[in-house]
Amino acid sequence: METMGRYTLPVLALVVLAFVPMVVEASFTRHLFIIAFIYAIIASNWNLSLGHCGIFNFGHLTFFGVGSYTAAIAAKTYGVDPWVAILLGGPAAAVAAFLMAAPVARLKGIYVVLVTFAFGQLAMQLVLSQSDITGGAQGMVRIPYLRLGEYSFLKDYKLGYYYVALGLLVVSTIFIKLVIDSPFGKSLKAVRDSEEYAAARGVSVSRQRVMVLVLSAIFTGVAGGFYSIYLRVASPEVFGFGTLSLALSMVLIGGAGTIYGPIAAAIALTFATEALAGVRGLEEARFIVIAVAMILVLRLAPGGLLRLFEPLVPKALRQR
């Protein structure tokens, strides 16, 4: 009964989101939802390493970028089916995460930030310099789109892409939930809160860090792959600071260490930034507004906005 109660709110949210396209027919609004779902996958997986394991990983968008370019190159250059190309983003990002994790596993604090950020810049430079393969600063365009038999995803006002993105978000969230609820997930919190205590109880701190970075990269990479196939573009902008700071604000505003906080924040902030873009004078300054919101949340509600609403939710329905 309690288990049923705990899943009530997420399932309700899913049912609502599943019915959105029935009500919302505007292609652009559906597009915003799709982008929100992609950001939700990025933020909630980032939260695995940042919120649950306490790794100041500033290279998370690199996994997204690697997934994005893997799918683009696979689908366009090598003619791989776009469905498969999307999935290839996962293992490619996991390999990138492993390469980044190796030097990070034994570092602490600011050094983790520096190395992971540098890794992202390195990946971007690699993309820019290998223009024969990646298109360089121009990126890659006209990437093959999704088809399902005779059904083309280009002519349905984004209905198909909406459900694929939502499906990816659901699978990614179930994956995160399984990880968090497992003994491995508990050990991540142990490592985050007391490395020495965890090591004294047989937990290899560096191994858990490597593993969580690799796990957090899988669905981020798949989301990157989907992003390229959906937009039919792969651009070095995905490695940029703007994308990084927006995704980070989703993790922090939603609540690092929660499961659904970053997802809710991703949906809210995607629509908020879009709404702000329509306000005269705020077109370019909207990210400053989001940054100020992030600072305010960190100062006033360090646990994230979701935790502020927790007392309003009956205990049986709560998720930690």
Partner: protein
Amino acid sequence: MTEPVLHTRSVSKSFGGLQAVKDVSFEVREGEIFGIAGPNGSGKSTLFNIMTGIPFGVTSGEVHFDGQRVDRWAPHRIAQAGLCRTFQKDAEYPDLDANETLLVSATYNGGLRGAEATRRANAVLDQVEFDRSRRCVLSRELSVYEKKQLMIASAMVSQPKVLMLDEPASGLTKPEIARLDALLVDLNRAGLTILLIEHVLSLLLSVSQRLMVLNYGEILAQGDPTAVVKEPAVIEAYLGGRRK
């Protein structure tokens, strides 16, 4: 004579010019409670740290445990081998409850999975008499005594060969110390070897079969507890006499 399950050979630890532990050699026999006493700053906790590699290892010397030299091992590997410690300060996972805390130890230190890990965790929580109604409360909300119980239980769940306790009685009331005394005696009777650092001398003398006193990182005396505490050098160290 029983074989030592744990012994050190001339272990030392330096921090720059400061030598926190100097040339300490001692052995712990299987099945005993071995007490370690000494004034603040005498190197007791540092000795625990370098023996377990948490957070640092020896500068020189050797640590042997269960027939193997372990001073170059990774800390988690030493714990998995059965040398488990607690900490002087409250160590806890604030966002995990007692069941989850023990699940981590049972999985990673005890090699247990699923129902077996849960069963073992419950048995150990019962053994340390951890209140059943408090097992789903987050660690951050537990009392000092409950946190101590949990720290000991999280070590016990992997059935260690040697349990190293660093001032378990600090911050406890007299009745709680009495409960702790009884618990340590029970654990020892069940066959557990215990290495105990303690400032509460009544507890230390009550449970220890042998005692070592450290001062300025060196061994001042070791042997029978009642004889050791009567040695003039030990009395001088505890009463703050001038060091010769």
